[in-house]
Symmetry: C2
DNA sequence: TAGATTGTTAATCGATTAACAATC
DNA sequence: TAGATTGTTAATCGATTAACAATC
């Protein structure tokens, strides 16, 4: 295994390549050079070749890259085809929005459960799934293998639930709350701070006005 | 003006400082050294001092930083107190979730309009706001100054609407779609690619299994 | 084969970290 | 004043870009 420890910067660019290649596929383009892709994406061809070669030689000299092949390879690297199962913790507005997020179905992610702690929400049906009480999590996790949990609950409720999920064997946490998470166990965590993104935008807007 | 062109890496860290300082305020801590903050945040004290000094000397030698003062300064830099007005384009699940996102009210952002193109949604009330038809955007923008527009609509509808919004004088676009935006006019754009975040998580999960 | 474009090494650039003089 | 900690310069590290030999 040529595990050279790929930098986070490279990893974060992979989904973008994946998107652009998917787009090319839709357009019926079956072959592309790093140079043409670089023009479309607004990055350097050098960076594209460097990035890809962290994982292997996916191109052919003198020819370029086969779009469908490269698309699939990047999808594999990202684990898009691993059929990861997803549960949503929190059936509020955000949880519902994510439950209906089409990306999950378009790619290989499958939502298999939605949980909430409010009695008036438990029993409701969202996207063919009956909302369960969070207290049912342990039992649920004993019966089904959920790989990823989306944390769409208020900050103060997160640490407790997150710890339980890890205990029950969750592999990844997609955290939409402000809570900072860290565990002794090997768990993948990805934080989505929408407010950070908004404030970054806000900064850019403020800059325009100067 | 000491406009030294602050790097994007620094800008993206500011919201995180802002969050941590807000937390310290809540805890009643009124003074902190770069060293202690670095331990809490898991970054180097050097980086904190370097970052802050891109904007000015906010500390006191031998003493540290006054938490409330620094919090406010960073808020100012980020434009959090500029009272930016926000409109939401798209009253689907995501638009509704964002309409109810408490961060807006907690900080100085004010949602003043929600728009959709579906007749069955227009007229509905979300968060005290009546959903308007997107065709009413021009008139609306003629009467009120909306600073930021949230694009929570399908990709193919984005370019057209975005162009109009820019024409009507929008200053910032918070783009949740896959559409890639670019304009001749000076407009701030911040893209939120939730799917990129999910795939990054997916990659990390896949790594655990090796 | 000649032309094109990759894979990869080397050069550059920028960002992070370390060190320390300034100063509260 | 002495001690502490900043602001800032210098050193290091890593990431990006450029160049080119390998090869399809």
């Amino acid at each position: 295994m040529s595990e050279k420890k790929v930098s986070a910067a490279v990893i974060r660019r992979l989904p973008r390549y994946f998107r652009y290649l998917g787009e090319l596929l839709n357009q019926g383009i079956d072959r592309i050079s790093s140079n043409e892709l670089s023009e479309r994406m607004g990055v350097t061809a050098s960076q594209i070749r460097q990035d890809l070669n962290c994982f292997g030689g996916f191109g052919q000299q003198g020819f370029g890259y086969q779009v469908d092949f490269l698309y699939n390879e990047i999808g594999n690297i990202l684990g898009v085809y691993n059929g990861y199962t997803v549960i949503i913790i929190g059936a509020g507005n955000l949880g519902r929005a994510l439950a209906n997020y089409r990306f999950f179905n378009r790619e290989g992610y499958k939502i298999i459960g939605i949980f909430d702690n409010a009695q008036e929400v438990v029993g409701e049906t969202i996207k063919d799934l009956t909302v369960l009480h969070v207290d049912a999590l342990e039992q649920f996790m004993g019966q089904q293998q959920a790989d990823i949990a989306i944390l769409a609950i208020p900050r103060d409720t997160v640490p407790d639930i997150a710890e339980k999920l890890v205990k029950y064997g969750i592999k990844g946490l997609w955290n939409y709350s402000f809570a900072e998470l860290s565990f002794d166990e090997p768990v993948a965590v990805e934080n989505v701070h929408l407010s950070d993104s908004l404030m970054t935008l806000s900064y850019k807007v403020a800059q325009l006005e100067k």
